[in-house]
Amino acid sequence: MSNTASELPLYEVFIRSKNGLHHKHVGSLHASDDEMALTNARDVYTRRSEGVSIWVVKTDNVVASQPEDKASFYDPNDDKMYRHPTFYNIPDEVGHM
């Protein structure tokens, strides 16, 4: 479907809106190199001081899980209820724990 031969490479953009918060994916953009990706990300995604830190990552370098593998991929953890605090019966008189 896609003919991307002459396109500038695609980058994913992540922004930390303020210190204390995680970087969060905000979208993507095309740029010729890392430096242009960073300055373009600033112009496209932070025109109103939306961020204090930007990460740009070439989309090709993102490794992602597949939605259709969801069951088999996450299953192994679903039956380990003993990882949750509610699995354990502690008498009320012990107090908050």
């Binding site: 396109e7 979208g27 993507s28 953009l29 010729s32 112009d43 109103r48 939605p67």
Partner: protein, 323 residues
Amino acid sequence: MVSPVTDDREEIALNEAFQAKVDAELKIEPKDWMPEGYRRTLIRQMSQHAHSEVVGMLPEGNWLTRAPSLKRKGVLMAKIQDEGGHGLYLYSAAETLGISRDEMYEQLHTGKAKYSSIFNYPTLNWADVGAIGWLVDGAAITNQIALCRCSYGPYARAMVKVCKEESFHQRQGYEIMMVMAEGTKEQKAMAQDALNRWWWPALMMFGPHDSESTHSTQNMKWKIKRTSNDELRQRFIDATVPQAEYLDLTIPDDKLKWNEEKQSYDWGEIDWDEFANVVAGNGLCNRERLQTRRDAHDGGKWVRDAALAYAEKRKKRAAKQAA
């Protein structure tokens, strides 16, 4: 990757699971299975939305050098830059559906993809810039607020970001109209003239009547569309009429009248022949807008080529130094 679905029953099951997810208000994300029609509709709608943002820069761009003060130039520049940004959010969201940026540009430049007809009208006087912000951005916001709840995650998220920024566009436009309407007799006449020319095209932005709208039912079911064309149009009219009254300007519709029972306005009828004609490419500025876009894209080619060549050179130099 998903293997090609050869079994009809499997396809039906996938479709049902998809619809159940949509009905449960769960968002669809790029790699999730989706019906081909859903993907096609979104690609069409999102790319045309992106094209509209980009072409939308042109009527206002004409006024950058002629804006009446440094403040207005700065404001207009910021607004136009936002429109470009909105186009970029939308293009990148559309790319998650498997269409490339180049394909979308190609569709715009060859006339295969449409953009909002409103941008095929000329901006004749400075009050037009005010009327565009007030009415065109106002209509766009009405549409886009509804799209913030679209079932496709990347589109909905882009819309949230766009809506946050559009409010400034409408307010700066209304402020221009306020200043003009309170100015000299001539200035007020210019404001009225701009309202006269932009009112009906702004109402056309909501598209055909629900009874004429071909894709509406399926798009509502898929929750790509959340509110009908006529409902959104009425919402816009009800919000805008009092704003015109405040400006002491007259909306060019002699059938416009408050309906106490409905608690909303009755109004006349759109000239649908004009709408069809502009969509078909015969508006006042269709050819000029498209040519400007093509020239901009072709004119920028050497910049893109140079940037890629520079990136390549730096990569080679780094590899040499490492060796």
